[in-house]
Amino acid sequence: MTSKLAQPTRRGFFAGTAATGVALCAPSLATAATKTIKIGYAGSLSGVRANFGATESWTIERMREHLADGLTLNGTTYDVELVIRDNLSEASASANVASDLVLRERCNLILVQDGDAAMAVGELADTRGVPTISTMVPWQGMFFPRGGRPDVGFPYTFHFFAGSDAVLTNFVNMFDMVETNKTVGTLFLDNPAGQGLMDPQMGMPALLEAKGYTHVPTGPFQIATNDFSNQIAQFRAAEADILSGFMYDSHFVPFWNQVAQSGLSPKACGMAAAFLFSSAVEALGDRGDGLLTEVWWTPDFPFESSVTGQSAQALAAAWEEDTGAQWTQPLGYGHALWEVGLAALARADDPLDPDSLAPAIGSLNVDTIVGPVDFAGSPVKSVAITDLVGGQWRRGTGKHAYDLKIVNNATMPQIPTDADIIPLSL
């Protein structure tokens, strides 16, 4: 069967020659039709970080509509092909996705929405020269594990996001606003991000000491932990009014229940990553009112999209109308990822040439729906550092069970605050 197929037939031969002839006679026509920009995408559409990727498929569909007629850059019209891959929120699947996007699909530009994927795609993209833009993980978490040096950066890979230091600064700023005995009990999940946050010099301990807080550290804990009675016993013995640290929502539910059971009544609680999403707060029932969180983006950010012209408010409204679900913070960054990518393509002399596109990203300064993304003026090469504000979850007054209110904007004054901070009332 196969040998028969492989044999050249007379008809096939003539057809082939004719096609070549046409192509040779009309070279401009043929190349015009093949100018396609291939944009690869890797993100956590499912898996443990699925809630970070929950808005992504919707965002990608909006972009697909936007790019349906192609892109006209410097007078040339390009077709745009999107190659969307799910990295399942895990490192090994990310490696497969990376080789798929870089080696097999040979994308011209890769957009990455997940930390694991940023590591895997980043390494391969730099060796193969594929311009890549990533986000959705604190920039230190992508930059230093890959051996980045702030004065050198990476040749083809770029990242924009807030830093983990900004999370801590915002927490302490918010603790300052609540009347407490200035005793802070902390516990941190034992992973690279947690170790960074609890670092004695660079992390929370130094910041708390500088601001005159008494620190009750209970150290790191393992990801499989489901019982916090020991840490809580120490907090209770020290009469900590403030609880802080880093854990996922799966830890926070038992932690918070055990805090209540123990009779400890903290006045403020800010945990990095634990309640970025309203679903995590809703899981606490009535006991989520007043929790403090870092805020990357809300519909109240006074920015608009450079792609669609929508305001942050309009983008969130469109998502809520289409899906019936409450907006989440990644909605803004997921949209901004495409804004940055498309702005870079527009800036490059030849978007298909990686050595033209990479410098175009590196010299970019674009206003997006999450605020300015500035690679050009950044102190860290290859990284655009965005900023955060401090927020507090409050009992919803409208259609949602909880609303996220911005209560401290010291690090990003252009964002208006929309509520006064309240102490926890437990």
Partner: protein, 287 residues
């Protein structure tokens, strides 16, 4: 001293929960001689049924939700036994039913992700999850005490059923000498289905208690399966009373070890498990 006593109590209540997690697995292993790798998924499904029912009908009392989740999960367990596991058990190789349950686990987990999403869910039991009891200087959460109470009742009930009912006699006969039990006219396949259903019901109970205490996601099953295994192996394969004791031992170990090493997690639990296994191997009492 009070603090230490509180921690000890915490450990015992956590251990009761661990015992319930292991009870169903002990039963399937003891009677069916099947290592049921889908036990973790049955736990999560039980929890998700409870969460789903509470979301759809918030007025239904918690106890009714618990019973409903156990009943539905028991039906599912029985169905899986009839449709797949029983057939796989006809092969002499114990690997076959184990692989079948592994496959069932993968399918159940992904079905759960598809239908319910990957989100974490907790079961809101009103003020119970945060309430505490004060006995002199000792403060202990109400929910852990209730959990322990349920665990004790369940284990006592299980022991009574196995010791004093006709079904229990059949189960014991089947567990000791399946071939002779069959000769005596016990309908083996029917007992298998009942046991599988009972085990799945216990899994659902564990799932609901876990969802009250913390939260579950479709991916939680795997980590609970590991605890279930340690409970079963420590408690003596197939012994439900042993499972309870083993659960308490592991729970106390976990809570107390965190006293001097907060970052230990389950390390000392696994170490205790390992040491006892080594001890048993040295004294020649491995099974």
């Amino acid at each position: 001293m009070t603090a230490l006593f509180e921690l000890l109590l915490q450990g015992v209540t956590l251990g009761g929960l661990y015992g319930v997690i292991g009870a169903g697995l002990a039963l399937t292993f003891g009677v069916l001689r099947v290592v049921n790798l889908s036990h973790g998924e049955l736990i999560t499904i039980g929890a998700f049924i409870a969460v789903g029912v509470t979301a759809l009908a918030p007025t239904v009392p918690v106890l009714a939700v618990l019973v409903l989740a156990c009943a539905l999960c028991a039906a599912l367990g029985g169905l899986l036994q009839v449709a797949f596991v029983e057939r796989a058990m006809h092969f002499r190789d114990p690997m076959v039913p184990m692989l079948v349950t592994f496959g069932i686990a993968v399918i159940l987990r992904n079905l759960l992700v598809e239908t319910a999403g990957a989100d974490l869910r907790g079961l809101n039991v009103g003020g119970l999850a945060q309430a505490s009891l004060q006995l002199g200087p000792v403060i202990i959460g109400a929910l852990p005490v209730v959990t322990l109470g349920i665990a004790v009742v369940v284990f006592a009930g299980l022991a009574a059923v196995i010791r004093h009912t006709r079904f229990g006699r059949e189960v014991r006969a089947l567990s000791d000498r399946p071939d002779i039990a069959a000769l005596m006219g016990i309908r083996v396949a029917r007992v298998h289905v009942k046991v599988a259903a009972l085990a799945a019901g216990l899994a659902a109970l564990a799932g609901v208690l876990l969802a009250m205490r913390a939260s579950v996601s479709p991916y939680s099953g795997v980590s609970y399966l590991l605890i279930a295994f340690e409970v079963v192996v420590l408690g003596g394969l197939g012994s439900t009373r042993g499972a309870f004791a083993a659960g308490v031992l592991l729970g106390v170990t976990q809570v107390l070890s965190a006293w001097w090493d907060s970052n230990a997690g389950l390390l000392y639990v696994h170490l205790v498990f390992f040491s006892i296994l080594v001890l048993r191997a040295m004294t020649g009492r491995l099974s």
